[in-house]
């Protein structure tokens, strides 16, 4: 460990990844004082600190700690405004364009694999597991990138009605989706829930894993540099216990996803969802490495079916 102890409190030691990152090939001993990174949240394509000015300390494997934003309800409300403003334009992009943007996130993630692997290791993964997780995350993005311009052909229909009408059902994004990410997965779980939601033109506000938030912040940087329009993905760090209800009760969120094994949180989420007839999807912990957790039906979870009638005549 380089002698890079910060002088300010409560900042903490930088993680070893800064060394890996600096030359991409192992650590280099140096007397240079490192530059510490401020971990911020991601709202509307920008990296503000939480408006609350609060933080929590995230302990890393090597015993050091970093400060993460302890986001507030106001941060969520700001994110919803950003997500709502971005949603229509995102949905209006061509499916081909959205497909390329998801692919671009995959490209960016691939090129920063080393940083993510190092971060996952610092969050407790073994080197081998971290490598597999990052590779699977990239592959998952490519998987959903490919679906952007295909799922609607699978889920739509032309309906043979008994009158002189051309009648078809096509899918549209549900709108703004609030998501509480899997607690146990730093990167892959996050990608696995965000990608199918934005593939169809939804915008999302995601609360990252509290104990593994590091990779979520870095993922924000990847998304920021991948032509994803501002507001399409908003990522917050903080405590579920404080923020879960804000996701399920917010009247301008159309659908809510919560990853939890906690029956009480499931019940509370589904109860709150009734306030504005939100679509609520609560599922337990998953093995995100398993390919069964990727599916066009996960895209369907955030779709509405619209049926259009048009007369046939002269």
């Amino acid at each position: 460990m380089a002698t890079t102890k910060p002088t300010r409190k409560p900042a903490a030691t930088p993680i070893k990844t800064t060394e890996v990152q600096s030359n991409g090939n192992g650590s280099v001993k140096s007397d240079r004082i490192g530059v510490l990174k401020t971990y911020k949240i991601f709202i509307n394509g920008q990296f503000p600190r939480t408006e609350s000015g609060r933080y929590y300390s995230l302990k890393l494997k090597d015993g050091s700690a970093v400060n993460m934003c302890l986001s507030s309800r106001k941060d969520i409300r700001n994110s919803v405004v950003a997500a709502r403003n971005a949603q229509e334009k995102w949905a209006e992009k061509t499916a081909y364009n959205r497909s390329q943007i998801l692919y671009r996130i995959g490209e960016m993630l691939e090129t920063r694999s080393a940083q993510f692997i190092a971060e996952l290791v610092s969050l407790g993964s073994s080197a081998a597991a971290a490598k597999t997780e990052v590779e699977t995350a990239v592959d998952r993005l490519i998987y959903y990138a490919g679906w952007c311009d295909k799922y609607n052909q699978i889920f739509s229909s032309v309906n043979p009605v008994s009158s002189s009408h051309f009648n078809f059902s096509s899918t549209e994004p549900v709108g703004v989706v609030g998501m509480i990410a899997p607690e146990s997965s730093a990167l892959l779980g996050l990608i696995s829930i965000i990608a199918p939601a934005i593939a169809s033109g939804n915008t999302v506000i995601v609360l990252a894993s509290e104990s593994k938030a590091l990779a979520a912040v870095t993922l924000s940087e990847v998304i920021h540099s991948s032509d994803v329009p501002a507001g399409v993905v908003n990522i917050l760090t903080g405590k579920r216990s404080e923020l879960a209800a804000q996701f399920s009760t917010h009247m301008d969120i159309n659908a809510v996803y919560v990853n939890t094994n906690d029956a009480a949180l499931k019940k509370q989420t589904e109860t709150d969802a009734a306030l504005n007839v939100k679509r609520a999807r609560v599922e337990g912990e998953q093995n995100w490495l398993d390919e069964s957790t990727q599916s066009p039906y996960r895209i369907m979870d955030y779709l509405e079916v619209k049926t259009t009638w048009h007369p046939i005549g002269i």
Partner: protein, 498 residues
């Protein structure tokens, strides 16, 4: 009903058609002699007629005559429990494992029997619910039969509906339906449930139980195994007993958004799946380049069809300024020619309001509209002294904040606004918590698809309105509910995709 004459209103302009001298409709009553209504109906549980454990009955009346038609059993929790047990038993022992092609044949039989007894069903539907016989005969009953016929064919083809998945049934479905399309809603609920291999406990609305009970008779005739469909009658408490029953796997509800929210809360955390088909306040948008006469027919069909007791009714009219005067004039003229009265008369266009309670609610909204400063216009028709009737009504000069614009009235009441630009009308049309349906009238094809894609609504009619078909998925965005009924998409809410 005595002879009705249609008079041109004094307010209508000189362009109004003169019916005064020419058109006098003679009564053309449909005979009710063919319809058999028993003096009392029990609960239909496990293929048999069972007395309610409370021994309580309530009257069902004809809303057009206020005469009692029959007494209906009131199911309590114990009765619902019995019905759920019967449904569970039938599911485990018979229905779940029956090959799809065999299930299909029962459902086809039901469709055929409805067609055979169409007239009886139509007559009872109009007597019990107040809707015009012409509509029961030409819309409700044929569509109900078609719905069973459509879904019957899916029973052995489910693996083709969801690529890459192996769909299986859920178990027992609890279904609660409204009073506006009693038989048709029963068909919308029961047909897909049976096709997908589920069994059913269904509760019709308390004011319109009769056709669901007649449908039970027909299940017996079809030889449907006991317990596959159970019909329990009653009001809200009976519905709550279904929603809260621990052995029900799925709730399908059509009704108000308020009750829908109560149900969504009640089943939170239970793992029950739900389909909610809730309220609406649909925008019907008329552009300057629309075929105006056709559009006026569409406006009338949109809001006065079934007395406006339609969740997808086009209850908010948006007319582009340049044609507003002519459209309103034509609309008023057309309203003058609507025949309002006896539902059993084959000439009737607008029948009876379903219940005194609903009429009271509509009348309250009429007061609210006037008090808020909107201009009320009603057709000059005479309404019968007996029964529950409401004149076709317009509110002119309304704005987005008016309650008659914001809230679902569920009656023959249309709130009219004007607009100038496309962006403006999209903004106004979507500015509602509801999102069930919308209508767009213009001659320009590209404009139609621009509008239909921007409407936040599950069903959009272009140059038509209030069309339904078993092959056509139906259901809402936002607070109009979730899940779809009809078509391929209507299978999904009754299946587990493995």
């Amino acid at each position: 009903m005595s002879k009705k004459s249609v008079k041109a209103s004094k307010e209508a302009s000189s362009a109004a058609l003169d019916f005064t001298s020419a058109f006098v409709y003679d009564p053309a009553p449909e005979s009710s002699s063919h319809a058999e209504i028993k003096p009392q109906y029990e609960l239909f549980i496990n293929g048999k007629w069972v007395k309610p454990s409370s021994n309580k009955y309530f009257n069902t009346i004809s809303p057009s005559t206020e005469k009692v038609l029959s007494k209906i059993a009131e199911a309590n929790e114990a009765d619902v429990d019995l019905a759920v047990k019967a449904a569970r038993n039938a599911y485990e022992k018979v229905w779940k494992n029956m090959p799809g092609k065999e299930r299909a044949k029962y459902i086809y039989r039901i469709a055929r029997l409805i067609q055979e007894r169409a007239r009886e069903f139509a007559v009872i539907e109009s007597m019990d619910g107040g809707k015009p016989i012409r509509e029961s005969r030409d819309v409700d009953v044929p569509l109900a039969a078609a719905h069973f016929f459509y879904y019957a064919g899916w029973a052995d083809k489910l693996e083709y509906a969801f690529p890459g998945k192996n769909p299986t049934s859920l178990g027992v479905a609890g279904q609660i339906i409204p009073w506006n399309f009693p038989l048709l809603m029963a068909a919308w609920k029961i047909a897909p449930a049976l096709a997908t291999g589920n069994t059913v406990v269904l509760k019709p609305a308390e004011t319109t139980s009769l056709t669901a009970l007649k449908l039970a008779e027909l299940f017996q005739d079809a030889g449907l195994p006991p317990g596959v469909v159970n019909i329990v009658t009653g009001a809200g408490a009976t519905g709550a007993a279904i929603v809260n029953h621990p052995d029900i796997d799925k709730i399908a509800f059509t009704g108000s958004t308020d009750v829908g929210k109560i149900i969504q809360k009640a089943i939170a955390g239970t793992g029950k799946k739900a389909t909610l088909e809730l309220g609406g306040k649909a925008a019907n948008i008329i552009f300057e380049d629309a075929p105006l006469d056709q559009a006026v027919e569409g406006i009338v069909n949109g809001i006065f069809f079934n007395q406006g007791h339609v969740c997808c009714a086009g209850s908010r009219l948006f007319v582009q300024e340049g044609v507003a005067d002519v459209v309103i004039r034509k609309l008023k003229d057309r309203m003058e020619s609507l025949q309002v009265g006896d539902p059993m008369d084959k000439n009737t266009d607008v029948g009876a309001i379903n219940s005194s309670e609903q009429l009271k609610k509509i009348n309250e909204y009429l007061k609210i509209g006037v008090n808020e400063g909107a201009e009320m216009y009603q057709s000059s028709c005479k309404i019968p002294s007996k029964g529950f009737f409401c004149k076709p009504t317009l509110f002119l000069h309304t704005s987005q904040s008016h309650r008659v614009v914001q809230e679902e009235i569920f009656g023959p009441v249309l709130a009219v606004q004007t607009f100038r630009t496309v962006d403006e009308v999209i903004e106004k049309a979507n500015n509602t918590p509801f999102g069930l349906s919308a209508g767009v009238w213009t001659d320009k094809g590209s404009k139609i698809f621009s509008l239909t894609t921007k409407m936040k609504a599950g069903v959009v009619w272009a140059n038509t309105y209030n069309k339904f078909d078993p092959a056509s998925p139906f259901g809402g965005y936002k607070e109009s509910g979730f899940g779809r009924e009809g078509g391929l998409h209507g299978l999904l809410p009754y299946l587990q995709l493995n």
